[in-house]
């Protein structure tokens, strides 16, 4: 060991220092990350606890793990199981997400690539809607849907979105499209494609990252939407999970907290799974919004 040169010792010293600094950085990140995630971890842990243990301490590891909360929670206090509510959520989300993707793409393509009469005014109104607080339109919308006879059905929950009613998504896609060069679309037109073929074969693949973000946002917002279903749905058999969760608090006099927590875990699970599965595209989509070009 004594024949180590000065340079070797210097190099070792530097390597050791950088190792220490890396270690400190990672420890810090882990601690902060843990603090941020703790409520979620606690939620998962507590859903396996008994009711009496939940309020006994802030620890998250259950002493006597039990799936009781899940089993009883799944049964619910209604004639339906929680599966029914998941199915309802699914029936709202599926047409809404697909409809949003198609309609917003069409609308954004039109705004970004074509000239038509009143385009400026129409796009201006899209922006205006973007700035309009949601609550302002609740009452007129409610009356409209009542007159259409759509109350207590899923239609009011997804039809507006499936008709490009979400100005934010249209705006986001327009911005993304504007940042894409038009050369490829022109090449496609020279190659004989019409506008719709150009959209499907050329624009949509290039738009994919943004489109995936749109679908994910729509999925999560709909999954979490509480007010919409609350206003328009009145029969329990049509409730989506967001309402069903509330239901279990309403109807039991002594709250069965472990059931509520267990069902909460199930409720956030789909969003988490979808997010992690699509994380890569998602981040690509929002971050490349207006920047590229």
């Amino acid at each position: 060991m004594t024949d180590l040169t000065f340079n070797d010792r210097q190099a070792m010293r530097r390597a050791r220092l950088s190792l220490i600094s890396t270690a400190i950085r990672y420890i810090l990140l882990c601690v902060v990350g843990f603090v941020m995630l703790y409520p979620l971890i606690w939620l998962v842990g507590a859903s396996f606890k008994t009711n009496s243990e939940i309020f006994a301490g802030a620890g998250f590891l259950p002493e006597n793990p039990t799936a009781d909360g899940y089993i009883k929670g799944w049964q619910t206090s209604t004639p339906y199981t929680f599966g029914r509510f998941f199915w309802n959520s699914f029936l709202i989300i599926l047409p809404k997400v697909i409809g949003t993707a198609i309609s917003c793409t069409l609308a954004a393509y039109a705004f970004a690539r074509f000239d038509f009469p009143l385009k400026k005014i129409l796009f201006g109104s899209v922006i205006a809607i973007l700035l309009l607080p949601n609550v302002v339109t609740r009452i007129p919308q409610y009356i409209l849907f009542r007159d259409l006879g759509w109350l207590d059905s899923f239609l009011p929950l997804w039809v507006p979105s499936a008709l490009a009613g979400d100005a934010f998504f249209v705006f986001m896609l327009v911005q993304f499209l504007r940042s894409l060069p038009t050369d490829m679309e022109e090449a496609a037109r020279v190659d004989g494609a019409n506008s719709l073929q150009t959209l499907i074969y050329i624009v949509v693949p290039m738009l994919a990252p943004a489109l995936i973000s749109v679908c994910l946002f729509q999925f999560m917002w709909t999954m979490n939407d509480f007010l919409g279903p609350l206003i328009y749905l009145s029969s329990v058999d049509k409730y989506p999970v967001s309402l069903a969760l509330k239901l279990s608090i309403d109807t039991t006099e002594a709250f069965e907290w472990n059931r509520i927590l267990a069902m909460s875990v199930l409720t956030i699970a789909p969003a988490l799974i979808v997010f992690f599965a699509a994380q890569r595209y998602f981040i690509e989509g929002i971050s490349s919004g207006g920047i590229k070009g």
Partner: protein, 364 residues
């Protein structure tokens, strides 16, 4: 037959800017026509109106014997190569080549055979299964060329296809494109080309004929040789040729012309060519035609700078306060150019005289 005719073609952009001012041009079947001019002179705009990518504000475009003003690009029997290649980023090279034929509903066997043929011609067989982002600039441009070639169009449109390549690659692609054009012609395929560039070297080396444009007007349409030897106006004279033609303000008086205080006889040859005697004249002489002489009639100028280029030398001299350039042989330079004042004699048979007021060449 894919003859292209532009009749009184006009373009007014949405902001009321008039980019093209009534252009008339006839391009023969099989001809290699180059549009050249400085940036912003509406070369692309004109080309894009032929392609159908830009709406035509006035006049008409005729391809073959059809007026195509109202036809979409896909129905005009054209193919286009863009400056930025414009390959479809999510498709492999094979998909890029096949796209147009697929849209046209061609059977798969035919498409495959066509891809095979084009890939062989352009030597892109090993690249067929790559994505555009895995290609170098030169390879991407060859694929773009293939995408045009595969459609067997009547007219090829190129918009500065070589501008994004480095100088060496540009030179070799230039040859490849002209070879390809000759080959298509030999096979009897219709192969009219409209090629847009801002680079006069590209124009001179590639074009059968060249259309020189400025600010939405055609300045002259002619073969490269004709443009070089008989420029119709000051703009063409200054734009074509390298180094640029010397354009010097001069006065015509009687049988001589003068620059500042020096004058030279016009001579019978030039005299015979003159169609007018403008009061304000500009004489034009190419650096190659301005030679270094020991005696006889010549202008005296102060040597400012000499650039040694190998077998020739570019002399930058000061003639009565005006900068002139002369290209002389290295040997001449050794014997005559090593002094502060030099004698430069323009070749009077190749001298041009322009009317300064309207730029017209009055010595054709």
């Amino acid at each position: 037959m894919a003859k292209v005719q532009l009749k009184n073609l006009e373009k007014v952009y949405g902001n009321a800017f008039k980019a093209v001012h009534g252009i008339n041009l006839e391009i023969d079947d099989g001809e290699f026509m180059v549009f050249v001019g400085p940036s912003g002179c509406a070369k692309s705009t004109t080309l894009r109106m032929v392609a159908g990518l830009e709406e035509i504000s006035g006049g008409e475009v005729v391809i073959g014997d059809r007026r195509v003003n109202e036809l979409p690009p896909g129905k005009r029997s054209i193919a286009m190569v863009f400056q930025n290649y414009a390959l479809y980023p999510h498709m492999k090279v094979r998909g890029n080549l096949a796209f147009g034929l697929k849209i046209a509903g061609k059977p798969k066997a035919e498409i495959d055979a066509a891809i095979e043929r084009v890939a062989r011609i352009l030597e892109i067989e090993p690249l067929l299964d790559r994505l555009p982002k895995q290609l170098s600039g030169g390879q991407a441009q060859r694929v773009a060329l293939g995408r045009a070639l595969i459609k067997k169009p009547g007219v090829f449109l190129f918009d500065e296809p070589l501008s994004n390549l480095d100088a060496k690659l540009r030179a070799s692609m230039r040859v490849r494109i002209t070879d390809l054009h000759r080959q298509l012609k030999a096979e009897g395929l219709s192969s009219t080309v409209i090629y847009v560039t801002h680079d006069q070297t590209e124009a001179m080396t590639m074009g059968d004929r060249i259309c020189v444009m400025q600010a939405g007007h055609i300045m002259q349409v002619a073969t490269p040789k004709e443009l070089y030897e008989r420029p119709a106006n000051l703009f063409v004279a200054g734009f074509i040729g390298s180094p640029e033609m010397n354009l010097i303000d001069a006065k015509l008086d009687g049988s001589s012309f003068s620059v500042g205080s020096q004058s030279l006889p016009i001579g019978p040859h030039l005299e015979g060519r003159l169609s007018a005697r403008p009061a304000e004249a500009v004489v034009g002489t190419r650096p190659q035609h301005l030679s270094l002489v020991a005696d006889g009639p010549a202008f005296t100028a102060k040597l400012a700078n000499a650039e040694f280029m190998g077998h020739e030398v570019y002399l930058h001299a000061d003639l009565e306060g005006r900068r002139v350039v002369s290209v002389v042989g290295a040997a001449d330079f050794e014997t005559l150019g090593r002094s502060e004042t030099i004698r430069l004699r323009p070749d009077l048979e190749r001298l041009h005289i322009f009317d300064k007021t309207d730029g017209r060449n009055v010595s054709l």
